[in-house]
Symmetry: C3
Subunit: 208 residues, 3 copies
């Protein structure tokens, strides 16, 4: 298991727990919980693989992914009393998930010989699409459109990745720094309620 | 035409009629009816082919599928007075559709050399995704999230398929038994209002 | 740059502006505007490439597309005061976009050796899917389901394409005539409020 596989594995755990928590909070039945956990953990990677043209889709030959997701659902269920403040826990696991998946997407884009700008788009898709599907399925406004810094965190992490790569740092450090940047950007933006600057003048917003 | 092609063909008919009935009940225009029938009949197979990496997508080289869907729309339109109780008829054709498509998905997963558990997921996707798209497009809550046994019926049918396969029964019998299991499970669950057991304690549900 | 690439390029501009205008009208933040412009311009082509099995997806090796979309967003932003009647401008750019993309889809379907009927479906998907995604993301009813002539315009344009092809006219003329047919059909249908004939008797509609 190389470093990128470990990051991918941790991302699966973070997103499967995030999906299961979201499904629990909506009181879905056992089967619905597994579907939501699976879609959250595998959705972004599936779209990435389809777009890059990776065959087979990563989860189709990877039974460990399936078992990991099932285990995460069971563990989340058992400890749901301890995870009492579901919203905060869900938020944290989601932030960790997008950090790890951004790096996996960047790495796979580079391996496919794509332009850095396209790699950053692929990183964003890998990180954000599973959460978007999760929110659509449980009937919440997709997190990406809730007007706070989410995909932007992935883009900033992607830029850090390519800047550090120029300095010929070891891969493990580049990966880690990039993922930590995404997670910190996301967490700090929510904690300090930082928003992107509005491109509209005050008049335009009032007139709306 | 081999046995699996016949099952696929019957599935197309069942889903095209189910899609056309749903579109009629919403008073869509002629073009909208054809789109909904097409998406219902071809949606699940399209996602399956994209995920497995089958090229070309099944309906792109198969004019019979297109003509069959158009014929189903016309026939459904002519007999819509006889199909008076639209909801019940729609429900029945949808149940037949998921039974037949589950088997087609299982078979194609096996042919691609996938693990039985992945084959069952592929069977579910083939069976359920067209109906989910149909419901999203006509603005109904997707049938798969209406908290009754739907995808679960496909999973049970998939398990029956792999159990019977172990006994070296002829393929035709395994196919038929598996499809019938899905259809019966779905119909009986709705008729007798059987639901999946809730994983939550009474307190948790009340507190919601 | 051949004729079809020029048409594709003009289509990207039309749809990127249409997406940016729609995002401005919803007061999205800068990042949201770029996402919507990108999805509107690249969504239909992405689904087309996935279905036909074209690898890599067109925008993944085409940095010009990315830069064009970014430039369109900036230009649209600067001239948004001049584009005061956003709804009408948006409608016009959307109509131009579906005309141009229909032809691109038809051409790529033919190049893949597909049946004319399938080519017309591919043309429709290329033209309509980006706008559908745009409308879903900004939370409008998808334009294709608003009960007026939209995808129908693409189908009529596709039929004109294959009829003119039979007369061995030069490709540029066939392309142009087909795109103009789509745009005119769409614009005239909206201006004169032309709808598809209803397949239902008056009684059925009243009883609804």
């Amino acid at each position: 298991m190389n470093f990128i596989e470990i990051i991918d594995f941790l991302g699966i755990i973070a997103f499967a727990i995030s999906g299961a928590l979201a499904a629990f909070s909506k009181k879905l039945d056992p089967f619905g919980i597994v579907i939501i956990a699976f879609v959250t953990a595998a959705g972004g990677g599936t779209l990435r693989d389809v777009l890059i043209g990776v065959q087979p889709i990563s989860w189709m030959r990877n039974m460990n992914l399936i078992y990991t997701i099932l285990a995460c659902v069971v563990i989340t269920f058992i400890f749901r009393a301890q995870l009492a403040k579901l919203r905060k826990t869900l938020f944290l696991f989601d932030a960790i998930g997008i950090g790890l998946y951004t790096v996996v997407g960047l790495e796979m884009g580079l391996a496919a010989g794509l332009h850095p700008l396209i790699c950053i788009i692929i990183g964003c898709i890998t990180a954000c699409f599973g959460g978007v599907l999760r929110d659509i399925l449980i009937n919440e406004i997709p997190v990406i459109f809730r007007k706070n810094i989410y995909a932007t965190a992935c883009i900033i992490g992607g830029m850090v990745y390519f800047i550090l790569l120029k300095f010929n740092l070891p891969n493990n450090i580049v990966f880690t720094a990039s993922a930590v940047t995404v997670i910190l950007t996301r967490v700090l933006a929510v904690v300090f309620k930082i928003k992107l600057p509005s491109p509209y003048s005050k008049n335009e917003i009032i007139n709306k």
